[in-house]
Symmetry: C2
Subunit: 460 residues, 2 copies
């Protein structure tokens, strides 16, 4: 219980970048080994900012901070830490600090905390919990990873469907430990099936005798406990849910998901898509150099194979190139334009799939559209590049060749860019991860083959 | 007021894709011009699903649907529509339907609805509002686009700081039109400065005589009305805010932002980053082909310039290539590997900037890390590609040349991929939009120059 008259102090400057002055004072306190100075600076901060600080300072400073101020690393800070760093920090904390840290957390946060830990560390944390909490967490861990069951909290407020506003308010006042966060009261029937949910604001605005059923929200959706977290985040964003009941296969209420967790998932999933499109797996700034290099190596190796395939096409035309070296100068332009147009098209397709904007009703319109866009821009760049090549090398027919090749390549880029992700989605392969190499191979092969092939036919 | 015993019907199948069977029935009803059939199918649906339906069906079906069922397009559906389509739909609606539609919306939704409309349509909608609502919307429109002022709703519940739980509950019961959604009561002093916020759940769990100040949330942040919506979304996600008070320059409470709006912004901003990284501007699946082609043309034109710059480098080595045609076969491999490694590095940098994971405390570590990752993978691929080239062309020195070129290019890719976005961010140019062409130019130029230059020195 506290009295607040000012905003919570922040580690962040106006646009939420870590504040350089605050950072310097913290590093000074670390250098002076000033426990008090450090605690004074860090204590008022939000757990998320302390976690970011731990992620961004050097490993040496991180160890110094943990040694100087272990009590500051509470459960909230642990929840906010990058998974990679979490194990390192947990290993470093004295067992009693760790036990204290996790006991305050809601069950969903404990699940998030322990699910990726080594069995040994997992056991240590579960052992620190009360019997009831431990059972709840162990139960949640039986649901598959990345599902609603892992995301939900079991702490919730429910009421029999026939209760009135007054009854539920009295019930809440009498309940010892209400969830830290809740926004709806779930109405259940005697079989524990959810039959509606009532927003707290509606309850507070209604007279005590008002039946809860009459002020239940019109839009009402339950989340199956096995639904993927990606789908959960989609539903929250699409239907502006604030909290939603989670039900098991028998339709019984087993938990609640709140929008802040759904927002975190949405942001993670978008992040993952962005990185995967660029051929980067899960990596974070606190990872070690070797891990990062290894993580990126695989994608580059795939790319090497596609590049070699493209080179094999070029090798078919060695004789042509030997006669007209200008072809070697111009051919990367065709491939580069195709590659970029393909990336545009595939990125739009990957996003449309993620946001469920492609359905049976517009599938063919979308494919046709990409082909036409490729054709239009292909013709545009054919003219531009045809003129450039003609002026550069003083050879009108070379302009014609590169122009025709440009059209072929950009149509291939448009069609490949939409069809490849669609096929991958159907084959249940993540299109964000796998589309790039396929599309690049298509545009490279088409580009080099069209350009050098047409050159061999027309120019020789 | 309604009684609910089942989930809201959905247009969507299990994973939230539009349900093909439902779609077919809707299209059948359209074909039969069955007003009743259509209304029966669409009325139970969520506004967001109706909007998606309008976006995904063909333009002809869309017009048929609007003609057959104009009353179904309420304010919520309009809010959910893609901006591009919104003008088209608004133009099509009878004025009285439009007026009815907007009158039900909260002020933030009306602002979102009108801000991108032509002045004429904007006037028609503002004219349909009550005096008070119109003033609120016009006031919001005076704040710059993409700021908290545009995002907030003015409908909120506040209480003098000295009130008790009982007083605020009585006040809410006596208030006619409470906001549709609210999760906190904002505590204000006599100057209308916010001094804290109290979660509804805490209010309901407390006895009537409890002073509100004593149950205010510990973490308390105000949002400046001119803060960018991107920063607002960041704050909600970082600090798990559910609703936050917005204050003007004088520190007075002017509105509230709720997490569902912040979530929508977060998702839009991530979407924008993904598309910009691929050189696609704002486009939606319902845009016309020509608009889309034009939107993508600009980026491709920039890419054409960078490709021509790379070709100019190759042109310096025409004589070398004429003597050793194998160089023409292998050189795209070097450029392609450099381009991909650069994309990996720049994507990580762009995301780290967006999530504020790069600060003064780790800037140089991050740059150094990218250089070392480039070096490690460069050496790895130098060995692989050196061996491949040697076996392919039976020329050990060619293997050496491509290996050395690979190392140079991949280090350049790593360093360029991190330094370019950082410099662009400092110059206040969106790194997601502009990094790609710069980095590609760097990797292409370094790649071709190193490979062909080394070949000229070593092989000739």
């Amino acid at each position: 219980m506290n009295e607040v008259t000012e905003d919570t102090p922040s580690l962040r400057s106006e646009n939420y970048a870590l504040d350089a002055q605050m950072l310097e004072r913290i590093l000074d306190a670390l250098e002076d080994e000033s426990h008090e100075g450090l605690a004074e600076l860090l204590e008022p901060l939000h757990a998320a900012d302390i976690a970011d600080l731990l992620e961004q300072i050097s490993p040496g400073n991180r160890r110094a901070l943990l040694a100087l101020w272990p009590a500051g690393i509470d459960g909230d800070v642990l929840s906010e830490l990058d998974e990679g760093l979490r194990e390192e920090v947990i290993e470093y904390l004295p067992p009693e600090v760790l036990a204290e840290a996790v006991r305050e957390l809601d069950s969903d946060d404990v699940v998030d905390l322990v699910e990726d830990l080594e069995p040994e560390q997992q056991g240590a944390i579960l052992g620190a919990l009360d019997e009831a909490d431990r059972v709840a967490v162990e139960q949640a861990l039986t649901y598959p990873e990345y599902t609603a069951g892992r995301l939900m909290q079991r702490e919730l407020v429910m009421a029999p469907e026939h209760w009135s506003v007054g009854e539920v308010i009295d019930h809440m006042r009498a309940t010892e430990d209400l969830p830290e966060q809740f926004y709806h009261v779930m109405l259940v029937d005697p079989r524990m099936h959810v039959v509606g949910k009532v927003a707290l604001g509606r309850i507070m605005a209604s007279p005590r005798e008002m039946p809860l059923r009459q002020i239940a929200e019109e839009d009402f959706r339950t989340i199956p406990v096995t639904q993927s977290q990606e789908d959960v985040a989609y539903a929250f964003n699409q239907y502006h849910l604030i909290s939603a009941p989670v039900v098991n296969e028998a339709g019984r209420l087993v938990g609640v998901i709140t929008i802040d967790d759904a927002m975190a998932v949405l942001s993670e999933e978008a992040e993952e898509d962005i990185l995967r499109l660029a051929g980067v797996g899960e990596e974070s700034l606190s990872d070690r150099v070797l891990e990062i290099a290894r993580g990126r190596f695989g994608w580059l190796l795939v790319n090497l194979v596609t590049a070699i395939i493209a080179s094999l096409v070029i090798a078919q035309f060695e004789a042509t190139i030997a006669q007209i070296v200008a072809l070697a100068v111009l051919m990367p332009i065709v491939a580069s334009m195709g590659g970029n147009a393909g990336t545009q098209s595939l990125t739009v397709a990957v996003r449309a799939l993620a946001t469920r904007d492609i359905s049976a009703s517009n599938l063919w319109r979308v494919v046709r559209r990409e082909a036409v866009v490729g054709l239009i821009n292909g013709v545009g760049f054919a003219v531009i590049m045809g003129v450039v090549a003609m002026l550069w090398f003083g050879e009108p027919m070379l302009g014609l060749v590169i122009g025709l090749a440009m059209v072929c390549t950009m149509v291939a880029a448009g069609v490949g860019g939409i069809v490849v992700p669609l096929l991958l989605e159907r084959a249940r392969v993540d299109p964000a991860l796998a589309s790039g190499p396929f599309v690049t191979t298509i545009t490279d092969v088409v580009g080099f083959f069209a350009f050098l092939g047409l050159a061999a036919v027309i120019l020789l």
